[in-house]
């Protein structure tokens, strides 16, 4: 089924939704549909319930971390040099915020077609990390959204039971993020590997030991 057609159908049926097709250049040709946070639930419900679409089966739900990038731009700035006002080119470096993404792979068990791939993006990776939960539409997202919450730290609003899934409750960080640093809970073992010995030495010096 053509994603363009599905997109225009959603636009006709869900007022105010902002959709964007995210192209995929790999030979798989699985393009995806970026949906906005505000109308996500309505869009999802439409995809599930529309009689000729019937995407009743949400197969895979997963998160992706896209850290912010450093963007270098050349900007012309007016500056006073030696008492004369001049236009100088300066290189400005800005840091983009990056975002977290949740991806949903939808199929239809009734019509036996698919996949349609939905994506949702958070505003940044720090504190505006809320997305609407699609568990009320597809129950199969229940554990998988919990896993994303656990490993990526996306907060799914409207999830019936949002707890960590794989890590323990007292755990604080999100291990699947690209910038995750393992805690230094290193236990010294006298193994003869160089890398291990080096790490042991580093650990000891950081801990103020020998």
């Amino acid at each position: 089924m053509n994603l363009e057609t599905i997109k225009s159908e959603i636009e006709a049926n869900v007022p105010g939704c902002r959709l964007l097709i995210v192209p995929n250049n790999s030979p798989s040709g699985q393009h995806s549909l970026l949906i906005d946070r505000e109308t996500a639930l309505t869009v999802a419900r439409f995809l599930r319930d529309a009689a000729h679409l019937r995407f009743d089966y949400c197969s895979n739900v997963t998160g992706i971390d896209w850290p912010g990038k450093e963007i270098t731009e050349k900007v012309k700035v007016k500056k006073t040099l030696d008492g004369v006002e001049q236009e100088v080119e300066e290189i400005q470096k800005t840091q983009s915020a990056g975002h977290l993404e949740a991806v949903y792979h939808l199929y239809s068990m009734e019509k036996k077609h698919g996949p349609v791939i939905l994506r949702m993006r958070t505003e940044d990776r720090a504190d505006r990390i809320h997305l609407p939960s699609l568990t009320p539409i597809w129950r199969s997202a229940e554990f998988q959204e919990r896993e994303i919450f656990d490993l990526y730290g996306i907060v799914f609003d409207g999830h019936p039971d949002l707890r960590r899934l794989l890590m323990w409750d007292g755990f604080e960080d999100h291990p699947m993020r690209r910038d995750y640093v393992e805690p230094d809970d290193y236990e010294y073992e006298p193994t003869p590997h160089d890398a291990v010995l080096q790490r042991a030495r580093q650990h000891l010096s950081e801990a103020g030991g020998r």
Binding site: S26, S28, D56
Partner: protein, 386 residues
């Protein structure tokens, strides 16, 4: 109860409407419970023998497989997929290979496709036999059915060993084909095993299917409705046990599954007995596929000549590949940024998603039924926790 007992239990007061003081018993089943098929825990609240709440607790076997795979090359993750569902390593290899092939647009030679079908269906045979054996073991049929199942499984594992060098951690497939071709005489040996298999199934069915205790313990127990099964994304024999006709081998026709004549067995009631029966019938269908594949397998190369599996760098993009693994839909979602290792590597484990409805199936049942219902889902914790 003292804190040192195996199953930790404590009493809590249940708010009662009639003024009486009913008590709920909270039991922590697992993680080291023989019926949990690994390390898995369920927080159960019981009203007498009846289950009123059940929350599964995961993560005891979590090693962040996905993170490790993102630091590995594409080829480097292949042997690690064996460790997901360690009973069906070849099915895992296949699913991963399929996802990479979609990502990079690789064609698989004819002979390799047949080898994949043969080994994949043999995997299904040994998974379902041992799965049924475990189910019966959980039911208290101590020994006999599981030993019968393992006897047959061992024959399939011997085939795997002589083909791939390993009984369980086969590491057999590569993107673009298979790692090794059949050794001399392997096909005849495999044919012998497959031809003998229906007799074992007959024996197994005579022993079990009409058994009064098995029927009493499984019929009407752990009922899963069609609607809930679809909604919760249940796949595999469990979904078909509830009567939904959805088999990815038929729907996607990946590989060369469109060439084989086989049927999709469906259950009617969605209870434990139906799931048991669907697995038995699926094995007979697998035998049909195996017979056809073993007869038709053509000579030829087993690896795509154009694919370099070492130093493999697919173009930037993403792909989701899925197969009908013995436990359900096993999917791999890969994102490439053009570097030698995947930017994102995701496993869609059938066992984890199938556990979504564990509580729904157990509510109102007796505590002894939990064990059977869990056994009928057929989970492997290596895949649930990753």
């Amino acid at each position: 109860m003292s804190a040192t007992t195996a199953a930790t239990a404590r009493f809590t007061l249940k708010p009662s409407t009639d003024g009486g003081e009913d008590q709920l018993l909270e039991v922590s089943m697992g993680p080291q419970h023989p019926s949990t098929h690994g390390v898995f825990r369920m927080d159960v609240a019981l009203d007498g023998e009846r289950v009123v709440k059940l929350k599964p607790v995961f993560g005891y076997l979590h090693r962040n497989h996905e993170k490790i795979a993102e630091t590995e090359t594409y080829l480097g993750s292949m042997p690690y997929t064996d460790r997901l569902d360690y009973l069906c390593s070849i099915a895992n290899n296949w699913s991963y290979a399929l996802a990479v092939e979609k990502l990079a647009g690789i064609q698989v030679p004819e002979r390799a496709e047949y080898l994949r079908v043969i080994t994949g269906e043999l995997t299904r045979l040994q998974n379902h036999t041992s799965g049924i054996g475990f189910l019966l073991q959980d039911m208290g049929a101590s020994g006999t059915p599981l030993m019968y199942a393992f006897r047959e499984r061992e024959k399939v594992l011997d085939l795997f060993e002589s083909l791939t060098g390993s009984r369980m951690m086969c590491n057999y497939m590569r993107f673009g084909g298979c790692r090794v071709d059949m050794p001399a005489g392997w096909l005849q040996q495999a044919q012998k095993v497959v031809e003998a298999f229906p007799r074992f199934l007959d024996e197994f069915e005579r022993l079990l299917s009409g058994n009064e205790i098995l029927m009493a313990r499984t019929q009407g127990v752990g009922v899963l409705s069609k609607e809930l099964a679809v909604d919760a994304g249940i796949t595999g024999p469990m979904l078909r046990g509830s009567g939904v006709n959805y088999d990815i081998r038929k729907v996607d026709k990946y590989g060369i599954y469109d060439r084989f004549a086989f049927r999709v067995p469906l259950g009617e009631h969605g209870d434990v007995y139906d799931r048991y029966m669907v697995r038995l019938l699926e094995m007979r269908e697998s035998i049909k596929i195996l017979r056809q594949a073993m007869q038709d397998i053509p000579p030829g190369p087993i690896m795509d000549a154009k694919t370099k599996i070492r130093g493999f760098r697919p173009k930037a993009g993403e792909a989701y590949g899925r197969t009908e693994s013995p436990k359900g839909e096993l999917g791999f979602y890969l994102i490439s940024d053009g570097s030698p290792n995947p930017y994102r590597y995701r496993v869609r484990p059938p066992s984890l998603v199938n556990l979504t409805v564990l509580e729904d199936m157990c509510l109102g049942q007796n505590v002894a039924d939990i064990v059977i219902i869990l056994g009928s889902i057929d989970i492997v914790l290596g895949e649930v926790d990753r």
